[in-house]
């Protein structure tokens, strides 16, 4: 659905995007992570045929971004970094305006606006709709909207024409937790629809980890890492880190016993406390049962054995700080 090969964009002497190669299949979410100015927005702008690549090529929904810009834009829903709404228009007028530009027939347009507004909880349901002088939220001027509401309107604008490709730049920024949850659920539902390919640019790493099938990390215009999250973690953060907790403070010789047992599996103790020991192992499926067996045989009371969660943040920092 999105195929990028050697995509490059230079502004005079500044190379904003440098030889980027990516693929996003239908039904897949790719999170594009990177520090500010890394080239995320420029990449997204090229994929939505707003900017022309200096070199390389990209096909979006089957169309070439350099030569079939109109067709690309017809098939892409782009959520820009800033909502960029027209403050003197009402929410309904604004969405209707974009629906008209997309040439969606009037009855479908109105129906779609109402449905999406209801989905994003902008229009109160009929039973709870305010009466009297209170206006429907969608009929209020956009200048009166909160940041979160504005972001929701921008999201509806993006989904209005039901595009097969979505490019979402910070979709949950400025949203309260409940709204952000709603948007994440929406993205998850859109992902589950097998026809859609989604690129998600975000600084919210837990969100990326939750939603994305794959992560691409961009630094100074270049993709420095690209893989599924577990594979990235394994590659950048090394073997899995396990923690064993004992029921009682450790007796003398426990650490030595653990060290001796796991040494044969290429694992090693990293740290130890009064009633816990951490060790790294390249193959937990083999190391852990063997260790447990040895400890139980020695009469050690094991309370838990679990993997220490290594965050995507650690992966990200490792990648963008140039250690890879």
């Amino acid at each position: 659905m999105i195929e990028i090969e050697g995509l490059t964009k230079a502004f005079d002497t500044l190379v904003a995007v440098d030889n980027v190669t990516l693929t996003v299949r239908p039904g897949e979410v790719l999170a594009l992570l990177g520090p500010n100015g890394a080239g995320k927005t420029t990449t997204v702008r090229m994929l939505s045929a707003i900017l022309k690549p200096t070199a390389g090529r990209a096909r979006v929904a089957g169309y070439d971004v350099a030569t079939q810009g109109d067709a690309v834009r017809r098939n892409v829903g782009m959520l820009t970094e800033a909502p960029g709404l027209y403050s003197r228009m009402t929410g309904r007028e604004y969405l209707d305006f974009f629906g008209q530009l997309r040439q969606i027939p009037t009855p479908e347009r109105h129906k779609r606006i109402n449905e999406l507004a209801e989905w994003f909880k902008i229009t109160p349901a009929a039973k709870t709709r305010p009466t009297g002088n209170q206006k429907d939220a969608l009929d209020r001027r956009l200048g009166e909207y909160s940041k979160g509401m504005a972001q929701k309107i921008a999201l509806i604008r993006t989904l209005l024409h039901d595009p097969p490709v979505l490019l979402l730049d910070e979709p949950t920024s400025a949203m309260d937790p409940a709204s952000a949850r709603l948007v994440r659920d929406t993205i998850a539902q859109l992902r589950n629809d097998a026809h859609r390919a989604i690129i998600l640019c975000t600084h919210n790493l837990p969100e990326a980890e939750e939603l994305a099938d794959r992560i691409a990390i961009i630094r100074q215009g270049r993709i420095v890492e690209q893989d599924a999250t577990p594979a990235l973690k394994a590659r950048l953060l090394g073997p899995a880190l396990m923690e064993i907790r004992l029921a009682h403070p450790s007796q003398n010789g426990i650490v030595t016993l653990i060290e001796r047992t796991i040494a044969g599996y290429g694992a090693q103790v990293q740290d130890a406390g009064e009633n816990w020991v951490r060790y790294s192992t390249p193959d937990p499926a083999v190391t852990n049962p063997a260790l447990l067996q040895a400890l139980i045989a020695s009469g050690v009371a094991v309370m838990t054995l679990s993997e220490v969660t290594q965050s995507l943040e650690a992966v990200y920092l490792r990648a963008v700080e140039g250690d890879v």
Partner: protein
């Protein structure tokens, strides 16, 4: 609830008419949608609506009041003609004030959109650049122009009922045409200004490049109305249309997705500017390369401008010169060749004419080099037009003088061969080269290159102008000046002196 859309339509088999209509509709519908949105937005902004309403409603009353008082005053001295000539001028002013708001609206419409960061979502739709440009251009022009018509109408009704003065139809038409084309010029200028700025504030600063020339134009128009010369007003309207076409051409070029979002040119990078200029101006590869590669390359690159320059100066110069001969014939005494007795008298005749400080090679060279440098500067502010006109003028003068000489019994070809040809054969190519490159500098403003955009393009072409000027034009002008001062007078004495 399903967030999947179910957008379906079953198109009927199109007839030929409906197919054409469909094509027209899909081509212009987006522009119409943009137009409607912009108009609605403008009418909801009291900062724009209120001043326009005040100008449309209040200013005609003020102008009417001033006209009435003025008429009462001048009637005491029997000078009613003054105020009668002033009434059309006031009509123009009444029409201009609301139409000047087109500039404000355009700056808000284009630069405001960039500043509010709403442009990107618009550019992500299937709109073409032209549809967006046309929609916004019309939206910025329509309300002020309509307000201008209403203002003119109100003023005319008031003047008609109070002073019983009704303008001739031709005056009314020219006034309304001027209001319309002036608004369009301001809007199309504002598009260019907006494309070079990322904020309304920066655009407003640059807008003085539009409003100041327009104010001068308005004053010129008002003065011409005092002389009741409507023909010149139509010519001004025609010039405005030409300027408009050029500005719209430039506007459609700079108003594209790439330039609107791809560049941030509010910051002045003097070092980069100097580098671009210096790279183009300095002969980095030595003198031999300058004459064998660099100057020939510049000349090859400006072939269209060379062709246009030669055609315009020769054809235009001939037409203007011949028109001058017919319109302003000189008496035979104007060409008293008996005064041409020796080299000293030739020198004193030239000095007395005021054209040169002295009849020396340096004075001639300085005069010619200065004129061509001015042409280069003028090209930058006139999209190349003034450079052409400046070179056309001497050609027209030569045609005029040679034509007059023929009328008093002197062989015009001999006169041409003796007084113009020896130095002209060197001087004219130098002038054509400089003018063509000056035109190219203007062309770059109309069609900025992909690489670096308009500013870099102008700097690069200015650098090439300097390189061409130093490497080719100055040597040729020096040779021509020496011939003109040292050889031409001898030829004049030998062939035409008495």
């Amino acid at each position: 609830m399903n967030i999947e859309a179910r957008i379906t339509s079953t198109p009927a088999a199109p007839t030929r008419f409906s197919a054409i209509w469909q094509r027209m509709h899909s081509a212009w519908w987006p522009a119409w949608v943009i137009f409607r949105r912009e108009i609605r937005d403008t009418l909801r902004d009291w900062r724009i609506v209120l001043p326009i309403v005040i100008l449309v409603v209040g200013f005609p009353f003020l102008a009417n009041f001033a006209a009435n008082r003025g008429l009462t005053f001048v009637n005491q001295y029997g000078a009613s003609l003054i105020i009668e000539r002033l009434l059309p001028s006031l009509m123009l002013v009444v029409g201009f004030f609301p139409s000047s708001f087109s500039l404000v609206i355009a700056l808000e419409t284009f630069a405001g959109e960039k500043e509010r960061r709403s442009l990107e979502s618009l550019l992500a739709t299937p709109l073409t650049d032209l549809q967006l440009y046309v929609g916004k251009l019309l939206a910025a022009t329509t309300p002020p122009v309509l307000a201008s018509y209403v203002g003119i109408g109100s003023y005319l009704l008031l003047i008609g009922f109070t002073l019983d003065w009704w303008p001739p139809l031709s005056l009314l038409l020219v006034s309304m045409t001027l209001s319309t084309v002036q608004s369009l010029v301001m809007v199309s200028g504002a598009v260019i200004v907006s494309s070079q700025s990322t904020s309304v504030r920066a655009a407003n600063l640059l807008a003085s490049f539009i409003i100041i020339p327009m104010a001068f134009v308005l004053q010129a128009e008002a003065s011409l109305l005092l002389f009741a010369d409507y023909t010149v007003l139509w010519l001004i309207a025609l010039c405005m249309v030409v300027v408009n076409v050029l500005l719209i051409r430039l506007g459609t070029h700079v108003f594209n997705r790439e330039q609107l979002l791809g560049r941030d040119i509010d910051e002045l990078n003097l070092q980069h500017a100097w580098q671009v200029f210096w790279e183009a101006a300095w002969p980095h590869h030595g003198l031999k390369a300058l004459y064998t590669r660099e100057i020939p390359a510049i000349i090859r690159g400006m072939r269209p401008e060379l062709l246009i320059t030669v055609l315009v100066i020769l054809v235009g110069g001939m037409i203007v010169g011949v028109w001058g001969i017919q319109r302003f014939p000189l008496p035979a005494e104007a060409f008293d060749l008996s005064q041409v007795q020796n080299l000293e008298t030739i020198g004193s005749i030239v000095s007395q004419s005021g054209l040169l400080t002295s009849f020396s090679p340096w004075a001639i060279f300085y005069n010619n080099a200065r004129a061509l440098l001015v042409a280069g500067g003028a090209a930058l502010i006139s999209l190349g037009i003034l450079a052409l006109l400046l070179l056309m003028a001497p050609v027209a003068i030569i045609v005029y003088v040679v034509g007059q000489i023929g009328g008093i019994g002197i062989n015009p070809w001999l006169f041409l061969a003796v007084t113009v040809l020896p130095h002209g054969i060197v001087e004219l190519p130098a002038a054509i080269l400089a003018t063509a490159q000056a035109m190219r500098m203007g062309d770059v403003m109309l069609a900025p290159p992909e690489e670096g955009g308009g500013v870099d393009g102008i700097l690069r072409e200015s650098g090439r102008f300097i390189k061409l000027f130093m490497g080719a034009v100055i040597p040729l002008l020096l040779i021509a000046a020496w011939i003109e001062a040292r050889i031409t007078p001898h030829l004049l004495l030998n062939f035409l002196g008495r």
